[in-house]
């Protein structure tokens, strides 16, 4: 079963115009009782089948903030595809302090999926709030009564979070975990630094970091084999290529985020220390020299214009080392949807394998991030290192 193929078996829909938080709260409380559940089939109201209330299933509160109706619709669709696998009370907030009109509109949707193999039916709810005027500056007060108590609360901020806006701080304050996508940041260095100082119980999640998981796994697999592990202290060169859209306007705002986080991950795991910056190449690449255990390590990060994978996705990673038997190279190339894993070590070139490596959907990546309920020290280390590397590269470019 893939997330994309899931369709809810039952949905209900309730629109509340110019309403109040109390009214929404009351409607949510009544939602799962048979007598008041309304199913919008165009003919008024219906109770649930057989008059039996559906059991709501929730493992967390998920608050997503968006700007504009298209973004709201997109987020709701992502959440719908998440639903049966990660049932939550999802609250999608669209706030506009300068918009005219009613202070609060609400749309409540419930969805139920039949369980497989006789498992229980899974039901969950989505709440879309449009907040206007002065109320939009006080989102925490609007959201707080609507979350399910004693469940973890994750705040997902798609796009470029307004790090310096008090609304951001208000919502982060409510969260056990904050999930962002660093590839969407307008100011990547500023964003990375800001993430580095957010302290929540379950830490910070980053969609771009989650997308690196298969790359980290493939990289680690090279060195699970003891015969290759001895090259690790002697790594001297790291080259990373990442995708940018092949049109100037295309792509995410900071497609280099993933490559920087990957470099930061390797550097912190292998205790490389910063030595100096070097100039990148003419294509907008970045270069740094770090001090490894026995070797100086030359890191190069290079963008490649392509539409074969989404912007920000890694295209290749090449690690080079010097050992007793000469140099060794460890290569992962992913031009499109398949990765080729090659080693060139101990005097032999070996094509280890080809594996499918398609870019994952946003819902799938988000789902994995939402499963986590604790801080990720690996990410926190990589984040700090990525910020240092980026600052050094920007310094060299200036």
């Amino acid at each position: 079963m893939t997330l994309e193929t899931l369709e809810p078996t039952t949905s209900t829909y309730l629109e509340m115009r110019d309403t109040t938080v109390r009214a929404v709260e009351a409607e949510l409380a009544r939602l799962w009782t048979a007598a008041t559940t309304r199913i919008d089939r165009g003919d008024g109201t219906l109770v649930t089948e057989k008059g039996v209330p559906h059991a709501r299933t929730s493992v967390l509160n998920l608050i997503a903030t968006v700007s504009g109706e298209p973004a709201s619709q997109h987020v709701l669709e992502v959440l719908l595809s998440l639903g049966s696998r990660h049932p939550s009370r999802a609250i999608v907030l669209q706030a506009d302090p300068i918009a005219p009109g009613a202070a609060l509109d609400a749309r409540i949707q419930t969805h139920c999926h039949e369980g497989e193999n006789g498992a229980a039916r899974t039901c969950y709810e989505q709440l879309a709030l449009t907040v206007r005027g002065e109320a939009a500056r006080h989102l925490a007060g609007i959201v707080a009564p609507l979350v399910i108590h004693d469940l973890p609360t994750d705040v997902w901020w798609p796009g470029d979070p307004p790090f310096h806006d008090p609304i951001f701080d208000q919502l982060v304050e409510m969260a056990d975990r904050v999930v962002v996508n660093s590839a969407d940041f307008g100011d990547l260095l500023g964003g990375l630094k800001h993430l580095g100082v957010i302290r929540r119980r379950s830490g910070v999640g980053d969609i771009e970091w989650e997308r690196l998981a298969p790359w980290q796994e493939l990289t680690a697999q090279f060195f699970d084999a003891p015969r290759f592990r001895r090259y690790l202290p002697n790594l001297s060169r790291l080259r990373i290529k990442y995708a940018i859209g092949d049109t100037p306007a295309g792509g995410t705002r900071s497609p280099e985020a993933g490559a920087l986080l990957y470099a930061g991950w390797i550097a912190t795991r292998l205790a490389w220390r910063r030595a100096r910056s070097r100039e990148g190449n003419a294509n907008g690449g970045m270069g740094m020299i770090l001090e490894g255990r026995y070797e100086m390590v030359d890191i190069g990060i290079e963008p490649v214009a392509t539409n074969d994978v989404p912007p920000g996705e890694l295209l290749s990673v090449r690690l080079r080392a010097f050992g007793e038997a000469g140099s060794a190279e460890f290569i992962i190339d992913r031009p499109a949807t398949e990765a080729t894993i090659v080693t060139n070590a101990d005097g032999m070139t070996a094509l280890l394998r080809r594996i499918p490596l398609e870019a994952e959907s946003e819902a799938e990546v988000l789902r994995r991030q939402l499963v986590l309920d604790q801080r990720d020290p690996l990410y926190e280390d990589a984040l700090r290192a990525a910020a240092i590397l980026l600052a050094a590269a920007q310094e060299a470019a200036a």
Binding site: R85, A119, Q216, A220, D224, R229, L270, I355, P356, V371
Partner: protein, 518 residues
């Protein structure tokens, strides 16, 4: 973090932190039902989840002539039918089959093992499996000693620089039954130990690989709420139920020589009992855990013939209906003696003579052709000390129950009394229900996946140690003997589709208790 040659620093902290070393898994008896239903799907799902290293190789070893391609097709058929992840991912399957081979050989032929050894050496060279080998004995129990002996003779059992100069580890997985009584278990242990060291032997009981069983330790020792009440002061009694709806399913010959006590109680039930009742281990390590389980088994109160007559019930199903289908009587099953005295149902009342459990009865029941398939441990707590709400003539509030559901629908349920809304003081039992399926966004792995991976990474926590095994037989041998002598009371009969013979109900009702209807 310093980069050392013994640890991969890039592995640490990743989701797949427990990546096994490159290894070869040799399935002895690879064309049988276990491989088709369990091992093939488990290995495929491990590969699908990225839990196996790229060098991982499977060698099917069995008597039937077959090419590697045919063996792939055999495995594929099982995965298509029994895997929890379907349909099969063709790309994963394609990469997976590159590391699957088949070696034909009679399991009683020493030459076959010599040829197997050569093949494994070749795979070590070609695929970089570094001499690491896991032998899974998916063979009839009677063949286990012979297969083990041949593995030893062929130099395949060493860990084993000392025997062959080969690098790497060797482990062997042995399926139940582990003997049929204490003496045969000791003999089997000795036969295996002549070839393998105890730390190389993984005696598998798939119940221990189930999420709920593993969660039991987390539930008890990871939460401050439950451990303080996990004792005789608060717990009235414990019921362990392993109920099957099926009959003997073509295993008539085996089952008629075995019976429910040996087939289910000796391993699954006593292991559940031990995990449930054990003291907190000093560390969450294999030997500490197994030491604690052993202490529980050692504390199970021995039963005299009189105790056995009083505290055990053995039953056998007659014809009846289960889930809308007519079921013939056990004695009418193929390969079952028409006058068979073999029990298909067992109910026991056990005591554990420990500071924690003294006076708390443990009621155990298992049977075939019962109305529902369910495995659970149900804890019944003592009633509130004062019947405060019973004064108005209302019945007593039911005691609290904590039910740990092992299968199906794994989860934990707590039942307590609550006031029914409205005028008056009506009280009824309500459930707080945790289900794995709806609380976590990840599928639970099959028990075999968990246990195979544990085995590959060398974690024997969920496997049975030889002393646990022997002690389990010491508990049950007197019961078998007493039943055989006729002093344990007559065999009771129950209709297929019922919850067992009336005598099993009486085992509880005479103490003022009753079985749960799970």
């Amino acid at each position: 973090m310093p980069a050392t040659s013994s640890v991969n620093p890039l592995r640490q902290g990743l989701r797949q932190e427990r990546m096994p070393e490159p290894c070869i898994m040799v399935i002895c008896g690879a064309t049988g039902d276990l491989t088709l239903r369990k091992l093939g799907p488990a290995i495929y799902n491990l590969a699908l989840g990225g839990h196996l290293p790229p060098e991982f190789t499977v060698v099917g070893f069995a008597r039937r002539p077959m090419s590697s391609e045919k063996f792939h097709a055999h495995l594929r058929a099982g995965i298509d039918q029994f895997s929890r992840n379907r349909p099969v991912s063709e790309s994963v399957w394609s990469a997976f089959t590159a590391g699957i081979e088949y070696q034909q050989g009679n399991l009683d032929d020493p030459e076959a093992y010599a040829a197997l050894a050569k093949r494994l050496d070749r795979i070590d060279r070609d695929r970089g499996t570094a001499g690491n080998r896991l032998f899974y004995l998916a063979v009839q129990p009677s063949l286990t000693p012979e297969v083990v002996s041949h593995l030893g003779t062929a130099g395949l059992a060493g860990s084993s620089r000392r025997t062959s100069g080969r690098q790497g580890w060797t482990r062997v997985v042995v399926e139940k039954p582990f003997g049929f009584d204490r003496e045969s278990a000791i003999t089997l242990n000795r036969q295996i130990r002549e070839v393998f060291a105890e730390e190389q032997i993984y005696r598998i009981d798939h119940y221990l690989g189930k999420e709920t069983v593993q969660n039991l330790a987390v539930f008890r020792f990871g939460n401050g709420l439950f451990e303080p009440i996990w004792n005789r002061r608060y717990i009235d009694s414990v019921q362990i139920t392993v109920a099957e709806t099926v009959g003997v399913e073509g295993r008539g010959e085996f089952y008629d020589q075995t019976g429910a006590l040996r087939d289910i109680v000796q391993n699954h039930v006593l292991q559940l009992l031990a995990v449930f009742a054990m003291e907190p281990p000093v560390e969450f390590s294999a030997n500490d855990l197994r030491d604690e389980k052993l202490k529980v088994l050692r504390a199970v109160r021995p039963m005299s013939a009189e105790d056995i007559a009083h505290n055990t019930v053995r039953g056998q199903y007659t014809s009846g209906w289960v889930a809308g289908e007519e079921v013939p009587a056990y004695r009418a099953e193929p390969e079952v003696a028409p006058d068979s005295e073999t029990e298909t149902y067992v109910a026991l009342k056990l005591g554990i003579d420990s500071w924690r459990w003294a006076g708390v009865p443990f009621f155990i029941r298992t049977g075939k052709a019962l109305p529902a398939r369910v495995t659970e441990i149900a804890v019944q707590f003592r009633r509130a000390p004062l019947a405060l709400f019973g004064r108005a003539g209302a019945p007593d509030i039911d005691p609290n129950v904590l039910a740990i559901r092992v299968q199906p629908d794994e989860g934990i349920l707590i039942r307590f009394g609550a006031k029914v809304p409205g005028p008056g003081l009506n009280i009824r039992g309500v459930n707080m229900d945790f289900r794995y399926g709806s609380s976590f966004a990840v599928d639970s792995p099959d028990a075999y996946e968990t246990l195979l991976l544990d085995c590959m990474v060398g974690d024997s926590s969920l496997f049975t140690r030889d002393d646990e095994l022997v002690r389990a037989w010491e508990i049950l041998d007197p019961i078998v003997e007493t039943w055989r002598s006729g002093d344990g009371g007559p065999l009771q009969f129950y209709a297929a589709g019922s919850w067992g013979p009336p005598a099993a109900d009486e085992l509880l009702t005479r103490d003022g208790r009753e079985w749960r209807r799970p």
